[in-house]
Amino acid sequence: MKGWLFIFGLLAISTVLLPLLNLWVPEESNFHIPDYMFPLIGKYLCYALVALAMDLIWGYTGILSLGHGVFFSMGGYAMGMYLMRSIGKEGVYKSDLPDFMVFLDWKELPWYWYGFDNFIFTLLVILILPGLLAFTFGYFAFKSRIKGVYFAIITQAMTFALMLLFFRNNTGFGGNNGLTDFKRILGYSLQDPSTKMSLYIITAFVLFSSYVLGRYIVLSKLGRVLTAIRDAESRVMFSGYNTIHYKLFIWTLSAFLCGIAGALYVPQVGIINPSEMQPANSIEMAIWVAVGGRGTLSGALVGAGLVNGAKSWFTVAAPDYWLYFLGALFIVVTLFFPKGFAGIFTKLLSKDKWRESA
């Protein structure tokens, strides 16, 4: 019950209090939240959603994916294509085609760009495509019982291959510059503070609903089976469960959430390019979960916030030492805090209880 209160509290703060602080508190006040903060917090919320998805597959089911960057980018690119199409003729070259196509001297839109003028179509792609890729990939991988380190490496290889593909100019997604210079979404200007705030609030709600969904799943019988698969897959199989179905379900769901996160990320950050698919990014997603605490949903959210907060601080204050910090984080967390912050937190709580009872 306490957990629910905590989460509802967070939701209230993020969707009601912060916007109010922006709108009603005068700018001179210390409590005023400036406009530029909203896309920034929105970005963190997207990361938190990724961490949530990662936690479902890794923390609860024990499958380490190093390919979530791909699903994230797929959602991002789909949204980016819609945003590119809605620039219309206001690009640098005043052409109906996206600028980079004009630059590459393409005469007409490639077939896979058709339909992205339409928001509903884009939405469907965002919701279906990452999950579909994950389903296909997972079906073959789980069917041949690829697991553990092998699975991690294969997903990394997939990420690497797709990154190379998207870096090519000929692939038709803007090469290494990616998609950028967006102007508006659904007719609203992306520069407008109210659009920014709406996107942010939508992100917060999506995150909240995903959290509720995730919590429902992990507390259900399905969640129990998933945890059992993590701890002793053979025994689950011997008990008569077909583990492939369970793994495939949670793997596809995780990719689905990741795709949505990517789609929400792009309009707030204003760019999507293939570097999002670098293998390093996908591994970083794992460390968000590890820092926050595997196997606890709120831990994943906290971990994403902490690591990305640290990243923002380091890249400004001491850019040379960010990689040291990140590297040390990987080592220290795996060596000393396998349960992450959530583990430390519960340990502290249980100590207090022990003192009280004694």
Binding site: V149, Y150, A152, L164, Y324, L335
Partner: protein, 561 residues
């Protein structure tokens, strides 16, 4: 055309044909011939001197004559002066001395005495030459080069002839061909002759030329032959003789066959070269993965450390033993191995030891290690690539076919890899340490029960694996850039090798590495580098469907977990 012919052997015939406009210096030539009968060497030297001097003459006809004289003397000592004249680097001082400027135009050398000349004290004049002089000049230079005793100069000259039109030089080339002993130069001479023969009016000669071309299958003739087979607008062949066309077709198909063969050969070679690099990168990874079941994400950084060790050794040699610089690479071999091995052992003892039984956590921890190693190298050596020089015995290469050069550095890497693989194989199969490593790989608990200290074995094996990666870095430094991200480029590929080949068997890793390397190079020209890579990844994923443990999985049943 005739004019040029007579330039080659002016003494024999037609000397005056080219000079009919100019006052013929009968007397000079006559005296020259007489004197040459008496004392050839003296005259040759003397005549060289005179002709060189005449290069700076104010009269263009005198210059022409001097050039022709130099050509007829066949003395290659005149080459520098002639080349300088062609490149506008020849100067004449007031007292008539001929001075050759160097490329920068700041230093000068007397053409006769070969002494350095102080340019500032002299007032210099440029000899005036025009296109007709230049034409004679190039031919003469070519002639002299063909007569040079240095095969490299002859080869370049011969290649020049092949590129440009060489009509008129036929007799000269025939003579040179008769005297030539170097097979490569002979081939080019024959081809030059064939090219000329193709243009002649004699049908027999043309057919013979086509035969020669067919024999050698040189790609340079492709367009020439295609021209022979071209049709005009009325769909008639430009070449009316069907026999010639048939010959040309045959020659063309032989060229294409040969080119296909050469391409496949080059692909194979470069594939093996890439494969051997992958093998060095993946061998250590496969051993440690087989032994401990962990993937070392910092393995790529061991490559990088090996490459940077090579760089440091190179700089130490540059600084302290410049006379031994050529040998720095040999000295780097133990250094690269030991440095990477020590860092590997430190990692194993300090971090990985505590993570046994948790392979996914190990993967993340080693990723953290790799970040720290990359950033450390970046802070120490800078983010830019550093330069590691090839020792001179590794630069250059063997040319096996016309146009295909196998670089020495790649050949030596292949040999080096063979050496490393044999050593590792011997270590694992023939020593008691190897026996223990294999025992732990097969069954850790049982090996431990038999009194093998598994911790020690882990440490040694990790050191060995990292050391081999260090050697891989050394090899990479000879063919590519050395930068902090070096390891990242190869790590995914070496994972793929391990996944394909399976663990625990060297043969699997060798097959995986060579297979991926060769496949990569054969797919690259057909599908492009990126698509080729993607195709390979898809193939690997399909392969894993069939053989989840890799190609060379150990036989038997193993209880999971």
């Amino acid at each position: 055309m005739k004019k040029i012919i007579c330039l080659i052997e002016p003494r024999k015939r037609g000397f005056y044909e080219t000079e009919h406009k100019i006052f013929a210096p009968f007397f000079g030539v006559f005296v020259f011939l007489i004197i040459s009968l008496f004392s050839f060497s003296f005259v040759a030297a003397n005549d060289l001197e005179q002709s060189l001097k005449d290069l700076g003459n104010k009269s263009r006809s005198k210059i022409k004559k001097a050039i022709k004289n130099l050509g007829s003397q066949g003395n290659t000592a005149a080459l520098p002066a002639l080349e300088a004249l062609k490149d506008n680097r020849l100067r004449v001082s007031e007292d008539g001395a001929i001075i050759i400027l160097d490329e920068s135009g700041e230093k000068g050398q007397d053409a006769l005495t070969k002494e350095q000349v102080d340019l500032k004290s002299l007032s210099l004049r440029k000899p005036r030459i025009n296109n007709s002089v230049r034409r004679i000049l190039s031919t003469t230079i070519g002639t002299l080069q063909l007569k040079s005793s240095n095969p490299v100069i002859r080869l370049t000259a011969a290649k020049q002839l092949l590129k440009k039109s060489s009509s008129g030089l036929v007799e000269l080339i025939e003579m040179a061909l008769a005297e030539e002993t170097n097979d490569e130069i002979r081939e080019i001479f024959s081809l030059v002759l064939a090219k000329e023969g193709l243009n002649s009016d004699d049908k027999q000669k043309r057919l013979e030329s086509l035969k020669t071309i067919r024999e050698f299958g040189n790609i340079n003739f492709k367009s020439l032959l295609e021209n022979l087979l071209r049709k005009n607008e009325k769909n008639e062949f430009l070449e009316s003789d069907p026999k010639i066309r048939e010959g040309a077709e045959k020659a063309l198909s032989s060229i294409e066959k040969r080119q296909f063969f050469i391409n496949q050969f080059a692909n194979l070679f470069y594939g093996l070269s890439l494969g051997s690099i992958l093998l060095l990168a993946a061998l250590g990874l496969a051993i440690t993965f087989g032994l401990m079941g962990v993937i070392n994400m910092a393995h790529g950084e061991m490559l990088m450390i090996g490459a940077y060790s090579t760089y440091v050794v190179q700089n130490i040699f540059k600084e302290f033993f410049p006379h031994l610089f050529e040998w720095y690479l040999i000295a780097s071999i133990p250094v690269a191995f030991v440095v990477s091995a020590i860092i590997g052992i430190l990692l194993e003892r300090g971090i990985l030891r505590h993570l046994y039984g948790r392979p996914l956590e190990t993967l993340l921890a080693t990723w953290g290690i790799s970040l720290i190693l990359i950033q450390s190298v970046r802070l120490i050596f800078g983010a830019q690539n550093v330069e590691v020089a090839n020792p001179s015995f590794l630069s250059g290469g063997i040319s096996i076919f016309y146009g295909v050069v196998l670089p020495y550095n790649r050949i030596s890497i292949i040999l080096f890899v063979i050496f490393v693989v044999i050593s590792v194989w011997a270590l694992l199969q023939k020593t008691s340490l190897g026996l223990q490593v294999r025992a732990v790989t097969q069954n850790r608990e049982m090996a431990s029960c038999m009194g093998i200290s598994t911790h020690k074995i882990d440490m040694y094996t990790f050191g060995l694996g990292s050391g081999i990666a260090g050697l891989g870095g050394l090899a990479l430094s000879q063919i590519g850039n050395v930068g902090p991200e070096l390891g990242q480029l190869y790590i995914v590929d070496s994972f793929m090798v391990v996944v394909t080949g399976g663990v625990g068997k060297i043969a699997g890793t060798v097959t995986g590495a060579m297979g991926l390397g060769v496949l990569n190079k054969f797919l690259e020209p057909a599908a492009g580098a990126v698509l080729g890579k993607i195709i390979i990844l898809v193939l690997i994923i399909i392969l894993i469907q069939k053989r989840p443990q890799g190609l060379f999985a150990p036989k038997g049943r193993v209880v999971e977990n």
